[in-house]
């Protein structure tokens, strides 16, 4: 029989979502969250008092994300963390925001985009990613022998690439970079986020109008030949730009921090650059930076022997699911030789990351290139002083001060 406590019982005992990692290893989920992972699905109390669910088991998380009876529409969801200015509930997705839509609206947008992000197309970009990576490493080396790895490397490599793909001038980044940062900042209030989003949309819309008049060889120009309106195009372009700027960048910086903190693993990668593809999957699993993923039940659904009622929100903890010992033995160990296949770092189901093949190419090129260029790379501050992005939708580090031995230039 499904386990089903009475509403009053559940409300009384339900925990809230733990988010504080300061006490433990910066790469591990909060200890309080791991403590809640003894059951695959359990009651969770939301910021507005709603009593919904928390999924921490891998199979349960996967089941929720794969099931179209769980909606992605923001306006149906409760937030597990308090959000300033959103006491009235979340607003629905703005035009073109593919992440917050269900089929068939979601399918329509997604089908226009997936052909542009196939495995083959993204692999064709490998050489270009190598060039951009080398350029960033050149600049970093010249300015060395110290750097903030975030601004010198982790951010520019994916930013240059997504700008080139979309046809957004990288030189104009002051018009979008800080706005994207505000969107992902959980401490920013709703008004600041609204202004940042509006600013971003206005900027992309300007680009779209220009490209409609004078197409160039890029994704935004190509999309102007579809039946999408300028408003839809601005929304889609804004989401792609934001997702392209602030996801891989966090994986690169936090991943470097994790590798520098696990020298045996870094040595394994240095010894065998062919390990890069597998290493990237394991870093994705181990760090699971895009977390958590929320869903709202459209009808009653049984998951892991528990009845989730229509209207209830389920918070899928990707970090917990990717550390499920039933799926990944010895889950808290970073082990580049393991098979991390099946991790949920890119989500699962109809919304599974559209940019995942691009992110894979970027990381598979960038990590080995960084460690080949700077064989003596190390942290320039004590590890516990690295500032963490623990109040952002995508986890990572705020900065990563690094240093290296400069090669003596022969006279």
């Amino acid at each position: 029989m499904p386990y089903e406590p009475t509403a009053a019982e559940a409300a009384e005992s339900a925990p809230t979502l733990p988010t504080d990692r300061r006490s433990g290893c910066p790469f591990d989920p909060p200890a309080e969250l791991t403590a809640l992972a003894d059951r695959p699905l359990r009651r969770l109390r939301y910021a507005d008092g709603h009593v919904g669910w928390l999924a921490t088991g891998h199979a349960a998380a996967r089941a929720v994300l794969a099931d179209p009876r769980f909606s992605s529409r923001y306006e149906l969801m409760h937030s597990p963390i308090p959000m300033a200015g959103l006491e009235e509930g979340l607003p629905p997705a703005q035009t073109g925001d593919i992440i917050g839509l269900d089929a068939p609206e979601h399918t329509r947008y997604r089908r226009l985009l997936t052909g542009r992000f196939t495995v083959r197309r993204m692999r064709q970009l490998t050489e270009r990613v190598q060039e951009l990576t080398a350029e960033c490493l050149d600049a970093m080396e010249q300015a060395g022998p110290t750097a903030d790895l975030v601004t010198a490397f982790a951010q520019p490599v994916p930013a240059l690439m997504i700008c080139e793909l979309l046809g957004v001038p990288y030189a104009e980044r002051e018009r979008f970079q800080s706005r994207v940062a505000t969107l992902f900042d959980q401490t920013a209030d709703e008004q600041a986020k609204g202004e940042a989003y509006t600013g971003l949309l206005l900027y992309v819309r300007e680009l779209v109008v220009a490209k409609r008049a004078e197409p160039t060889d890029d994704l935004l120009s190509d999309l102007t030949t579809t039946d999408l309106t300028d408003e839809e195009l601005a929304g889609i372009g804004g989401v792609l730009l934001a997702a392209g700027l602030d996801t891989t960048a966090n994986m690169l910086a936090l991943g470097t921090y994790a590798l520098l903190s696990n020298p045996d693993q870094l040595d394994a990668l240095r010894a065998d650059p062919g390990l890069a593809g597998q290493a990237v999957e394991e870093l994705l699993r181990y760090l699971s930076v895009a977390d958590p993923i929320p869903r709202a039940a459209l009808e009653d659904v049984e998951v892991a022997g528990v009845l989730v009622k229509a209207g209830e929100t389920v918070t899928v903890s990707v970090q917990a699911a990717d550390r499920d010992p039933d799926k990944f033995p010895d889950p808290d160990r970073l082990d580049l030789h393991r098979s991390a296949t099946g991790h949920l770092a890119f989500g699962h189901g109809a919304h599974q990351c559209l940019g995942q093949q691009l992110a894979r190419v970027e990381m598979t090129v960038a990590f080995p290139a960084l460690f080949a260029r700077f064989p003596t790379l190390r942290l320039a501050v004590p590890p516990e002083e690295v500032p963490l992005r623990d109040r952002a939708n995508i986890y990572g580090v705020i900065s990563l001060p690094v240093t290296w031995e400069q090669e003596e230039v022969a006279p």
């Binding site: 994300l65 997936t114 542009r116 992000f117 196939t118 495995v119 296949t341 099946g342 599974q352 559209l354």
Partner: protein
């Protein structure tokens, strides 16, 4: 023990496909994606023995449940 895997037969449902590319990444000899919509294309409906393990893995990874595997020993792993 060797199972009669020669008869492994794959089916893909392009209506369900989310174009995420897990299949083409996992078993490139068996799956591809079209250039227009990025939806799954089946290169080998009855994969050769050396590609069968990857094909099964891809079916299990597909985020949209768009790949089905039919074989007499479908329950064996």
């Amino acid at each position: 023990m060797s199972a009669p895997q020669d008869s492994l037969r794959l089916h893909v449902d392009r209506d369900r496909c989310a174009g995420a590319g897990m299949c083409a990444l996992t078993a490139p000899e068996v799956f591809d994606q079209d250039d227009e919509e990025g939806l799954v294309l089946l290169r080998q409906p009855t994969p050769r023995p050396e590609h069968q393990a990857a094909a099964r893995l891809a079916a299990g990874l597909c985020p949209a449940g768009a790949i089905t595997v039919n074989s007499p020993d479908a329950t064996a792993s």
